[in-house]
């Protein structure tokens, strides 16, 4: 069993708005093992991006702990946090908005090096050497060193984002929908690159996405979120073979498989995502659920270990293996 790198305990993030408190992330806990990839899936507004940003302290959680190698990073002082920043990085979804349009590729990749005084600003040769090394690692041609992001296509921009994240030799990278803005052929290039880097550098990933086939391909463990809460958590194989939460089942059945006749009858959900503003203290999925019954209004279901390693939060799924809900 690999060592646990990050422990998330009772993470909560609320946003105050004029219309009420948005419960973006509402009391979630999970562990991230070193050298592995944990996938977080869910639809828009389920709080997956907020979780990712909390994990590396880009936004401060309302409450809860994020324990990185034994230290609660939410309680660190600025200077201590600055040291830790080098170990944790993020790759963003939008390769257009995540790069400063006024800087060249060289400046963008060198920025973390200079800012953290890893290399002195004056040492132009050392900077360039390191930048070229990183560009080579992510598959960017040397001649692009002086280009601006807007001159490049989405795939190459995403490579810049990866090179920037790698510059400080991090151990832990949050990938926030890194391929969802890319075309299929480019998406596969980037996914392979990320895998290769993980193998070579021993990286730990949190892979946030809404694309289930990508997360299945890419992750070791999968966390399924719905309206700010974890509904199911299991190793990828287990989750895809034996989904237990009604929402996960619906989600999996909605995947469109690119093969003739492969698309089975899908589980139809009622209605649409409820509002994350001041939700009632019951199962968040209740009214849309095909198995909705009175039990479902008995408070928020706890996340229970049903079989070893497989956690589900549903009033109808009880431990000891006799799941009432079966995949159709």
């Amino acid at each position: 069993m690999a060592e646990v790198l990050v422990r998330v305990r009772n993470l909560v993030k609320y946003f105050k708005t004029s219309r009420g408190v948005v419960h973006a992330v509402d009391d979630i806990s999970f562990d991230i093992e070193e050298g592995k990839t944990i996938g977080i899936v869910g639809e828009s507004g389920c709080g997956k991006s907020t979780t990712g940003r909390c994990l590396i302290c880009l936004i401060e959680p309302t409450s809860g702990e994020i324990i990185y190698r034994g230290q609660d990073i939410c309680r660190l002082k600025r200077s201590e946090m600055k040291k830790l920043r080098k170990e944790m990085q993020i790759i963003f979804q939008d390769p257009y908005a995540s790069l400063n349009p006024r800087k060249t590729l060289l400046q963008i990749i060198a920025e973390p090096l200079l800012y953290n005084k890893i290399i002195r600003t004056k040492d132009k040769f050392a900077i360039e050497k390191r930048v070229l090394e990183l560009m080579d690692k992510v598959g960017l041609a040397e001649r692009l060193i002086n280009t601006y992001p807007h001159e490049l296509d989405g795939g190459r921009r995403q490579r810049i984002g990866i090179a920037r994240a790698l510059a400080m030799e991090p151990k832990f990278i949050v990938c926030d929908e890194p391929v969802s803005a890319l075309d299929v052929s480019i998406q596969a290039q980037i996914l392979n690159l990320l895998k290769e880097l993980q193998r070579d550098l021993g990286l730990t990933y949190v892979f946030i996405t809404h694309d289930l086939s990508v997360v299945n391909h890419f992750s070791d463990d999968i966390v399924v979120m719905y309206l700010g809460q974890i509904v199911e958590k299991a190793p990828a194989d287990e989750l895809f073979e034996n989904p237990l939460h009604p929402y996960t089942q619906a989600l999996l059945s909605a995947i469109l498989i690119p093969a003739v006749g492969a698309n089975r009858e899908r589980i139809k959900l009622r209605g649409e995502l409820a509002s994350p503003i001041d939700p009632p203290p019951v199962c968040r999925f209740d009214k849309r659920c095909n198995y909705y019954c009175q039990d479902c209004d008995n408070g928020v279901p706890p996340l229970l270990e049903i079989t070893p390693g497989h956690f589900v939060a549903c009033h109808l799924v009880k431990p000891r293996g006799n799941a009432t809900v079966k995949a159709s």
């Binding site: 939008d94 790069l99 920025e111 040769f125 040397e142």
Partner: protein
């Protein structure tokens, strides 16, 4: 690798920088080039007048020569005291330029600081600064200018101050909104992720990216400032006589509209051309700096 040790690879692939790119696009904008040319001409006129025209020369009274129509000797004619209007108009360019540039610098500095604080930090600071800006903006500009000049006395620095203060709210608002746009971008988050401080982010990420609308406002505001100052002078709240400020010259010409309309034509024309130059330059800059036009 061995041969490259003493030349930077980045130099090998050197190309146009962002600023050079904007300049390139500005060059292909005919309006901007026209505006730029006029501004250069006016600047050289100002330089010429500083070097070669003395204050005595433009204020010396020569009654025999009064109210002469334009001629070869006096291209713009002479005024009611026989002073050559051509020299006076050339001499006056310095006031308008100083007021335009000086006024904008004041409002730019104050607006930039307050606007970026408000936009970046938000919350209570934002509310306070915006209330201040609203308050300042709810006093009609010309009125505020008149009061400032009246209180502090009629002089060039006070006129600059008056023009500057009245434009502060505009700069606060424009800075704040462009900071707000930039600060929610992902690359600002990326900067936080590499451990950058607030100050570092403001200076390296937010300001360079929020600058375009501010630059455009600066150019068009210079023009507006010149008109405002001229209007104040015209109403009698400007630089005192006998300084040949353009607005004052028009105001003097007003008394002789029937018999010597040239006194009104020329100084006003100079105001208009100068302001036009800044406006059209601002217009060109707006196009050149617009990221939407970038490919």
């Amino acid at each position: 690798m061995t041969t490259a040790t003493n030349t930077l690879v980045s130099r090998k692939y050197a190309k146009r920088s962002n600023a050079a790119e904007v300049w390139h696009r500005l060059k292909s904008n005919k309006g901007a080039i026209a505006g730029f040319t006029i501004i250069v001409i006016i600047l050289s006129i100002t330089l010429y007048s500083i070097l070669f025209i003395s204050f005595e020369e433009v204020t010396a009274i020569n009654v025999q020569n009064r109210l002469q129509p334009p001629s070869l000797k006096h291209p713009f004619g002479t005024d009611d005291m026989g002073r050559d209007l051509f020299l006076r108009t050339l001499y006056g360019s310095r006031y308008s330029l100083l007021i335009g540039l000086g006024g904008v610098s004041i409002s730019l500095i104050v607006g930039l600081i307050l606007g970026s604080i408000a936009g970046y930090f938000g919350g209570l600071v934002d509310d306070l600064i915006m209330r201040f800006s609203d308050f300042l903006a709810s006093i009609p500009t010309l009125l505020l200018g008149m009061v400032i000049v009246t209180v502090l006395g009629q002089s060039l620095p006070n006129l600059i101050l008056a023009v500057g203060v009245t434009a502060i709210p505009e700069f606060i608002r424009i800075t704040r909104s462009s900071v707000l746009v930039v600060r929610n971008q992902e690359f600002v988050e990326a900067a936080t992720a590499i451990g950058m401080s607030h100050l570092g982010i403001i200076f390296t990420q937010v300001i360079p990216n929020g600058l375009s609308p501010i630059i455009v406002t600066v150019t068009s505001r210079i023009g507006a400032g010149i008109i405002e100052a001229a209007s104040l002078s015209f109403l009698g709240f400007g630089i005192p006589v006998p300084h040949p400020e353009w607005g004052l010259l028009v105001s003097e010409g007003r008394n002789y509209m029937r018999i010597a309309p040239h006194l009104t034509y020329f100084p006003g024309l100079f105001i208009m051309v100068t302001v036009f130059a800044f406006n059209i330059l601002g217009d060109g800059l707006r196009d050149a700096l617009d990221p939407k036009l970038k490919k």
